[in-house]
């Protein structure tokens, strides 16, 4: 639908003799706006969901006033509050770095949504090297976290940032290895091809060696979005709030948005790589895609509110001593099965 819409409008444009680059630019802006709106709405839902699930798991009620019995407008009220709050710059802050950090974290979190397939040919841009694009762009926010920690001129923030960077770098290795398994199996880096390969032979989670890759992806994804048991960068009891401790108002909201956007993205990408993306009977493709994504989101939230936090050396050791060798083994195994 996306591609056909593009062609229809594009043809109209060419027929009327207008310069094609204006259409291209306008299309890009429109798609970026669409992605932004989708992400903002998703985050509203996700925050509400997180509160409801955590309340359920802790035998509480959770938000139940704003906007009706289940408090659906609670997050909107919170967003409004964050918008109205004072924007504070700490006295000793490195102002430019402090100012830039939220954007360096937030923008890549939006960019990766470009390759998500909401249906057949229904991605903003199904890049030729989609998986590589995702991996490359996801590497950016780490620098934003370091900038936030350093720019705040606060020891808790610096510690949180160092932890975030160390953890993110370590878990990126097994994450990429898990994705390599899928790429090897599908024989393409394009997300559309990976989904097509699952249509022919069944979801990748059901194909023999890829269960290991799924497990690796799931664990590392939880670490990448800094969720318990891997939430060391913002461990409240040790670091107050980690790298964003000095941020307030909208700047804080940017970190918050980026975190939940990333949570949704890793879940949706998990559904894409392993659960057949938009494929399913009866319901429209986009609905299937959202259902699968939210199933993974809820699983991650469930784990977050169930298990305790690890120590930083345990987290690092777990990645380098267990997940990386497992990832290498998974790649070799996938290669053998694929060739055989």
């Amino acid at each position: 639908m996306n591609a056909s819409l593009y062609n229809t409008i594009g043809q109209w444009w060419y027929v009327h003799g207008l310069p094609p680059w204006i259409f291209e630019a306008a299309w890009m802006v429109a798609m970026a706006a669409l992605v932004t709106v989708f992400v903002l709405l998703s985050v509203l839902v996700l925050v509400w969901l997180e509160r409801k699930i955590s309340a359920d798991l802790q035998s509480r009620v959770g938000p139940n006033r704003v906007g009706g019995r289940f408090g659906p407008l609670q997050t909107a009220a919170d967003a409004l509050k964050l918008l109205l709050k004072e924007d504070i710059f700490p006295a000793g802050a490195d102002r430019v770095v402090f100012w830039l950090a939220p954007f360096v974290v937030f923008v890549p979190s939006l960019m990766v949504f470009m390759v998500l397939p909401f249906g057949e040919r229904l991605a903003v841009n199904d890049l030729n090297l989609g998986v590589l694009f995702v991996v490359a762009v996801s590497a950016f926010p780490v620098i934003g976290l370091i900038m936030a920690g350093w720019g705040s001129n606060n020891k808790y923030a610096v510690l949180g940032a160092m932890r975030a960077a160390a953890q993110s770098l370590s878990y990126e290795v097994p994450l990429v290895l898990a994705m390599v398994c899928v790429v090897v199996f599908a024989g393409s880096l394009r997300v559309g091809d990976i989904v097509a390969a699952q249509r022919e032979g069944g979801w990748f989670i059901l194909r023999f060696p890829l269960q290991l890759a799924f497990l690796l992806y799931f664990i590392t994804a939880m670490a990448e979005v800094n969720r318990v048991p891997f939430d060391l960068p913002e461990a409240e009891s040790e670091l107050v709030a980690g790298y964003h401790v000095e941020y307030s108002g909208m700047r804080f909201a940017f970190f918050f948005l980026a975190e939940f956007a990333h949570l949704f993205f890793v879940s949706a990408f998990c559904a894409t790589l392993f659960l057949g993306a938009w494929q399913g009977p009866w319901l429209p493709p986009a609905v299937w895609f959202l259902l699968k994504s939210y199933a993974i989101v809820i699983l991650i939230m469930w784990i977050r509110w169930t298990v305790p936090r690890l120590r930083i050396d345990q987290v690092m050791g777990f990645s380098w001593k267990l997940l990386v060798p497992l990832g290498l083994a998974a790649v070799v195994l996938t290669g053998i099965v694929k060739v055989w």
């Binding site: 890049l127 090297l129 490359a136 950016f140 620098i143 510690l159 160092m162 160390a166 770098l169 930083i312």
Partner: protein, 195 residues
Amino acid sequence: MIGSLWNVIWNSVFSGSFWYPLAFVCLSLGVLIPAVLVALSRNMVHAALWLLPCLVSVAGLYLMLGAELLAGIQILVYCGGIVVLILFAVMLTHGLGDPDVRVHNQQLLWGVVAAMAVAGVVLRLLSQEIWQSGPPVAVSEVTGRLADALLGPYVLAFEVVSVILLAALIGSIVIARGDAAPEPGADDSDAEAGE
């Protein structure tokens, strides 16, 4: 005169041929200006952070040349890996953020001589090359062909590089271990000391 120049610019804007050179100029400035600032920043963290726009612009130049894979790898390895590691290393050093850190030394003469020599060699090489001009040729299946080349004719070079990297990895572990028994959570205490 000015009117016709304006016409040329307007026509190129309208037809779209204006944007490719413009993007090249912007990206080149995006490489060069941050590169100078990396060398001139007194604050070491700022110097490391200036690497970021520099390396991203290089990735942009790769994209303009139609080398998407190279651009992706550039972002992944340099921006996501190397800059983060440099920032890590910088944060463990002393005198961090001290505005009086000197960025110049007494070797101005030799520095200029070395820079001129390198510039001369580079210019010589560049002037000997016969440059193709025009838009990049679209090559299909670049990734697959690159993979075939790496695992085919260039497999020996590829393996040699990986052995060198492995040696560097083992060497750094040996150095980091030191003589004393390694203590758990050494990274954390280091971070605190650096801060």
